[in-house]
Structure formats: C-alpha cells, structure tokens
C-alpha cells in the first residue's frame, strides 16, 4: 500500500508554475529518489508535502488521510519528518538540545525526551558533539543534525532534502550508511532529493525525475539513467 500519494499537484507562484500536475506514489518501506536539474521544483514538492506553502490544486494523501490542507506542525505530528536543504539548526542551542526539542513531540517527560535524544545521537553518530552549539558545527555535522532532528519526531516517512550536498567522500559514505540504516533498522520510508548521482543511484529503489516542474519519467535507477529525456534535461539536447 502506498504511504504517500501526490495526485495532480500544481503550485503557481504568481505567473510561474513551479510544480505542474505532478503525481506519484511512495510505497511503504521504499526509498524514492526525486531528481531534476536546479530549479525543477524538487524542494517545492517537499514544501508542499509539509505545507510550508499551500498547493494551488491537487491532493496529497498520507496513509489514507488527505493532508493537503493540514498545518505544518500537524503534518509533522502525523509522522512526516523532513530535513532542509538550507539547514535550519537551532543555532544557539546545543546539538543535544536541538534533538531534545524535536523529541518532545512524542515524549511528554524530560526523561523520555532525553532517552530518545541519546538513541538518536548514537544512531546519527553525533554523540561526540552533543554538547557543542549547533551553530558552530561544520556542514557535515549540521546536515546530520537535520536528519537527527527529523528522526527524533519518530516519523514514518522522511523527506531528505540534499543531505549529502557539500560532504567530502568519507562523509558521503557515512551519510549513505546512515540513510540505509534509517530504512533497514528503523523501517522508515524515505523520499530523497539529491544531486550527487553516486548517492541517489546507490540508495533509491525507484526514481521520479522532473524538469521545469513536470514529471519526465519514473522507474528503476538504471532505467531513469538511460532515459533520453533525463539526459536531455541534465545535459542539454546536443548530448548524444
């Protein structure tokens, strides 16, 4: 059964159509890659799913409920976690307190939130920087803190927005391991937006490709990589 369905979702910003009639399903337990050139509307789709912006038309169904008009915090409580491409750490709080704040979404007691925080710190390999201020972390740490905060809300669906961008090769491998473990150990379904092909091709079960806000193809990583429209969207029509 699909955990999330987008049905003919469209978003207009004034005269610009950022997302145009996009539909896709995410199956429970899968990792769906969302790819497309810069400005193709990937982050906008995330912002529509967790209602940072209202959709112009179309429906978003999560676990059988229509969440199109729910508020951002309600969607988080229903079980959709997300990370931000432009990271949003709570800068003046420690790494642990960032996760604490998120953990309180499911835990009402201080001790409960603390236990969740410890688990998440360990899972995301952030325990050694737990007491540092989040604003002072290097980019790899801040990207991982994004994942940690989202995990602390105990999501069933996780939207990862370029969590691997700006990482060096060693950090990249660590990030891939963590993302794989999120699915295999925690059983969380993932939609991942990523520019780094090494990550997206390795991790995704299926890939949904968009350009100029419109779906161009969907299929296995191998199929999508071989699709001429995808190659054209990324490299231009002269590339053959």
């Amino acid at each position: 059964m699909s955990i999330l369905s987008l049905k003919n979702v469209t978003k207009n910003f004034g005269g610009l159509t950022a997302v145009n009639n996009v539909s896709f399903d995410v199956e429970e337990g899968e990792i769906l890659g969302l790819i497309g050139p810069n400005g193709s509307g990937k982050t906008t789709i995330f912002n529509l799913i967790n209602h940072f912006f209202p959709v112009s038309s179309g429906d978003i169904i999560f676990k059988g409920n229509n969440i199109t008009h729910k508020k951002t915090h309600e969607i988080a409580m229903l079980g959709i976690g997300r990370t931000f491409q432009v990271v949003k750490p709570l800068k003046r709080l420690s790494v642990a307190d960032n996760i604490m704040a998120a953990a309180f979404s499911r835990e009402s007691t201080f001790e409960g939130a603390k236990r969740v925080t410890r688990e998440v710190l360990e899972f995301t390999h952030l325990d050694h920087v737990a007491h540092q201020k989040a604003g002072g972390l290097p980019i790899a740490g801040r990207k991982r803190l994004e994942i940690a905060k989202a995990l602390a809300t105990r999501p069933t669906l996780l939207l990862l927005d370029e969590t691997a961008a700006g990482l060096n090769p060693a950090e990249l491998d660590e990030a891939i391991d963590i993302i794989r473990a999120i699915r295999s150990d925690l059983g969380i379904t993932i939609i991942i937006v990523e520019h780094i092909m090494k990550v997206i091709m390795n991790i995704s079960d299926r890939i949904h490709a968009i350009a100029y806000g419109t779906t161009i193809t969907e299929g296995s990583p191998a199929e999508v990589a071989a699709n001429p429209t995808v190659i054209e969207a990324y490299l231009g029509s002269d590339y053959h």
Binding site: T72, H73, L90, L93, D97, A101, A113, K114, H131, A152
Partner: protein, 327 residues
C-alpha cells in the same frame, strides 16, 4: 541538556539572604524603597525575558500588562471601594486575558513589526485609560491610603512575587514548553517542521509573561497607593526599562534580569541624587543618558549581557590581572 540541579545551593543562599536583609541591616526608608524597586524590576525584567529572551518575541509594550495589572487593582477600588489587595488575584489574570487578546493581533507579526505592534498596544491603553474618566478617574489617577506605613511587608510580598516569577521560568525551561519556546526563538519554520504549534506556544509564553507583569502592576498600586495612566503605561519608564534590564543583565538567562535590575536601580539613583549630593545638581538629569551609553556598550561588547557573557568578563579581568602581575 540541563544536568545541573533544578535549584542550586547558591540560589537558595541568595533567596535566604534577600529574606534576611531587613533583619541584618537597619535600612533607612529610602534604602528600603530602593530595595523594593530593585525586586519589582526583577519581576518585570524576568517576565519580559520569558517572552522576548526565551521565546524571541521582543515586546516593546510590557507596560500594557503592568498597567492593566495596576488598574485591575485600582478600578474595583475606585468604582466599588473593593480592597486593592484583591489585585494580587485579579492583576495577573486580567493581564493574561489582555495578553491573549493582544496575541491574536500581534502574533501575526514577526520581528520589528511585532515590537511595534506591542508598543502601539501599550500606547493605546495609556491614552484610553486617560480618557475613560468614569472607569479610571482619567489623568487624576486613583488614590488609596496604603495599608501599612512600614515598607517591610511590601518588600516580602514583592520578594514572593519575584520568587514566583523566577521559579516559573526555571520550571518551564526544563519542560517541553521551554524547549519549544527556544525552538520558536531560533527558527519558527524549523520549529513547525518538528511538530511545534508555534502560535499555541507563543500564546503560552505570552500568558506566563503577562501574568507576572500584571502581578507586578497590582503590587505597584497596593504599595504606592497611587496610579495614573502616564505612570503605569509609560513607554520610557516601564516598557523600555523592562527591555534594558533584560539586555544589560543577559537576554535568555535566568538571573540576567535580576542583575540588570540591580545595576539599573543603582545607576538611576546614583545619578538622580547627583551622586548622593556630592556632584553638581545638573548631573541628576544624566541618568537616562548614562543608561543609554551602558546599553550601547553592552550590545557592542557583551551581547550576552552581564550574566550571559560572565565567562568573557571573568577572562578579561583575569588576563588584565595577569599582565599587571608581569609588570
């Protein structure tokens, strides 16, 4: 994460010291009055700090809550001769109701617009309470013969209110609410993405903050025996000083406003009395000027305030002493 004890030994020590102060020293009524004002400002500064320092909603209109609290004690007395002491019950509640109604409007605004919205609210109340003479006796104010001549009972009452205010902050900041306040301050969008209902928790913060500001207002009427709109809704003397006490002491720290209040009252009185009569008379008009300079200095060099940047201050003093020793 706060692994430290909820209330430290030194905090209990400070409270006992404050309680014992009148028994240790034989203060003149003038000093007694100053003590009461210090503690009153601890309440106002701490209340402002909860909303602005911890939740990031920088209010420029805290006089609205202080004033409405004062009039919650004053109006029933003026109209029906109800004892102003009931104000200690109604003052806080009335301020919470005002805070909730105000929040519907001002929480739609962010940053400087929120500040302007709250400032406008306090000014509207100041003017309205001056006009509605049937309710408030207008600019003539409301006068009441205070219950006791001695100032000490008032000192203990305001001390209890201050303890309540500080305890509120300490309790809240260890709970879910506190973590949510900080998250909203740091990034409202990020907060909502981790499931925080920002408008609900801003209202809770406003409620707690306005309650204690209202209590301070009610106390003010009971203690002073006189209020008028220009005093209790004053922009410069209440709203702005609430902010300055917080900034100088340390925004978002438990004890910052307390330290800020002591510095502010000491400075104000030193100048107002022209260095207790030792300096020429014109110095007495300088306290606002000097306070302004102090704020500029703190914002430039100690953005965390005296408490927030205490480590920095200690390090600087320490280095200085070391370099002097080398000479």
């Amino acid at each position: 994460m706060h692994n430290d004890k909820f209330i430290s030994k030194s905090e209990i020590g400070i409270f006992i010291f404050a309680l014992a102060l009148p028994f240790i020293f034989d203060f003149s009524p003038y000093i007694q009055g100053l003590l009461i004002f210090v503690v009153l400002w601890v309440v106002l500064g701490t209340s402002w700090n909860l909303l602005a320092g911890y939740t990031g909603q920088v209010s420029f209109g805290h006089a609205a809550f202080f004033g409405i609290g004062a009039y919650a004690a004053g109006v029933p007395f003026f109209l029906f001769k109800v004892s102003p002491w009931w104000g200690l019950l109604f003052g806080g509640i009335t301020a919470v109701i005002l805070g909730y109604l105000l929040g519907i409007v001002v929480f739609r605004l962010r940053g400087p617009y929120f500040a302007l919205g709250t400032l406008a609210a306090a000014e509207i109340l100041r003017i309205a309470f001056g006009q509605e003479e049937w309710l408030t006796n207008g600019h003539n104010g409301i006068l009441y013969m205070t219950t006791w001549v001695s100032k000490y009972p008032y000192y203990f009452i305001i001390l209890a209110i201050a303890a309540g205010t500080i305890l509120t902050v300490k309790v809240v900041m260890r709970r879910r609410e506190g973590y949510y306040f900080l998250s909203i301050r740091e990034d409202e969008d990020a907060a909502s993405a981790i499931g925080i209902n920002a408008s609900k928790y801003k209202n809770i913060s406003m409620g707690l903050s306005s309650f204690w500001a209202g209590m301070a207002g009610a106390f003010y009427f009971i203690y002073m025996g006189f209020i008028d709109p220009e005093t209790v809704f004053a922009l410069h003397n209440i709203s702005i000083i609430s902010i300055l006490v917080g900034i100088i002491g340390g925004v978002g720290t438990i004890w910052g406003p307390a330290i800020g209040a002591i510095i502010m009252v000491l400075l104000q009185e030193t100048f107002r009395s022209a260095f207790f009569g030792f300096a020429p008379q014109w110095v007495s008009g300088m306290h606002a000027f000097v306070f302004g300079l102090l704020v500029i200095f703190v914002i430039l060099y100690l953005p965390g305030g005296v408490v927030g940047d205490w480590d920095l201050i200690r390090k600087k003093l320490h280095l200085k002493r070391k370099s002097e020793m080398k000479k």
